[in-house]
């Protein structure tokens, strides 16, 4: 089990909101921080890792529990804050 420092609850949100919320949260974090995102849209299991690959963040763990899925990521060098 990977230790997650920050948590983001995007249950009941549909694609692409889980990605948008993850992106906006990561912009507030620092390189190396870990974030655990909990979702109910199973599409998040492909979209959030894809978003991480594009933007240079590391996916540490993904999984499913009942109707929920989760992704744990580590923030890369650039947190993506535009300005």
């Amino acid at each position: 089990m990977t230790e997650a420092v920050h948590e983001l609850d995007v249950r009941r949100m549909l694609c692409p909101m889980p990605v948008i919320k993850t992106q906006n949260k990561v912009r507030t974090l620092a390189t190396g921080d870990c974030l655990r995102v909990v979702c109910t849209d199973p599409g998040a299991l492909s979209d959030i890792p894809a978003w991480c690959r594009i933007n240079g963040h590391q996916v540490l763990e993904t999984g499913e529990a009942g109707n929920e899925v989760f992704v744990v990521l580590r923030v890369g060098e650039d947190n993506g804050a535009l300005f």
Binding site: C15, V19, I20, A50, W51, N55
Partner: protein, 365 residues
């Protein structure tokens, strides 16, 4: 003194923001820019009306299909960063008050394009003001003259450039040669001769260019990527405004228009009836906002009631309609539970509506 010349004459790496929908045209536009050495980042806007993802996420029958967000997928193929921006709140004004009117349905395509290019313009202006090496020089779109009847016409191209505020910093690589030269072309940041002159509704030039770039897997949504171009969806939205006597919507409203069977037995009452298990689960999440109806004596759908019952007859009528879509539709009677948002529930037993007894005019959409 002259020793610094080599360093100072190194060309500046020019950067562009591209509007990326996830479809082929914007993908090609980015690729054309990358071929010219332009560094591109993508931006994708969430309006709330995006077809992408939602129906797959909701409907069980689509669960086994490969799920992907096409904008992210395109970004990964092109090796660009992607900013996805939630504009659903600001976008209401575009849908409710389009200065240039609607297309065939409630699609405000021209205003929509102006709005999105304007958002990108604000981004590049802010970046140029603040950010040095993170700044952007211009905006790229996959627009093609004549591709869309409402927004992508020769006459609308300068309107989009002017009203968005992007002006000469808006470059359409796929049809640039049919348009006056823009700043990136005049300044030599890009080579105009290597841009394209696509026009019309044919997809052949795009297909040929995709082949040249070795791209063989891309999304080609039939009616575009926006629910507002869909006749049935637009009818449901118009019905919602009529029933409320005002043109407004919240995000939940437009999400629910994507789900289930919509039946309006009374001017002030609409039923949203799930058609399968995935929709059932999705509608479950709204039972604390809406009165809901479920079957008790047999398996059946979950229905939300948009509006308030004015008397018991209206409630029984709604229950009988829901019973018509249950496994007990051929039974003499079906027992259902009507639950209010605060959890207070009561049971009713009704004779299901005969399929022919639900007037077609009640079907919304």
């Amino acid at each position: 003194m002259m020793s610094s010349v080599t360093e100072s004459t190194q060309p500046i790496k020019r950067r562009a923001i591209a509007l990326v929908s996830g479809g082929l045209d914007s993908m090609l536009a980015v690729k054309v820019m990358q071929e010219q050495g332009i560094e591109v980042e993508g931006v994708n806007f969430f309006t709330g009306f995006c077809v992408e993802g939602h129906t797959h996420a909701i409907r069980k029958k689509d669960k086994d299909k490969e799920k992907r967000n096409n904008a992210l997928w395109v970004a990964e193929q092109l090796g660009i960063k992607m900013h996805i921006i939630d504009i659903s709140e600001e976008y209401k004004d575009v849908v409710l008050n389009p200065r240039h009117g609607y297309g065939a349905n409630l699609n405000p395509c021209l205003d929509c394009k102006i709005f999105m290019v304007n958002q990108a313009t604000l981004m590049i202006n802010k970046a140029r003001e603040l950010a040095g090496d993170r700044g952007f020089d211009f905006i790229v779109t996959g627009e093609v003259i004549g591709q869309r009847p409402k927004s992508q016409r020769k006459a609308t191209m300068p309107i989009i450039s002017a009203e968005s505020g992007a002006d000469e910093r808006l470059l359409r690589p796929l049809c640039a040669k049919n348009l006056p030269a823009t700043l990136p072309e005049r300044e030599g940041w890009v080579d105009r001769e290597s841009l394209h002159d696509f026009s019309g509704r044919s997809r052949k030039p795009q297909m040929a260019l995709a082949k040249k770039f070795g791209l063989d897997d891309f999304a080609q949504p039939a009616g575009g990527c926006c629910f507002l171009t869909d006749e049935s969806y637009s009818n449901k939205l118009a019905d919602l405004w009529k029933a409320r006597n005002e043109r407004r919507y919240e995000l939940d409203d437009i999400m629910l228009l994507k789900v289930g069977r919509h039946i309006r037995p009374q001017p002030h009452l609409k039923l949203i009836i799930s058609r399968e298990e995935g929709e059932n689960r999705f509608l479950e999440g709204y039972r604390y906002q809406f009165t809901s109806i479920t079957t008790v004596s047999c398996p059946g759908p979950l229905a939300l009631v948009d509006g308030n019952f004015q008397n018991d007859e209206e409630m029984q009528q709604a229950a009988a309609i829901v019973a018509r879509y249950s496994k007990g539709r051929s039974s003499d009677e079906v027992t259902l539970e009507v639950r209010s948002p605060d959890g207070v529930a009561r049971q009713v037993t009704v004779e299901p509506f005969h399929p022919d007894a639900v007037p077609l005019a009640w079907n919304v959409g």
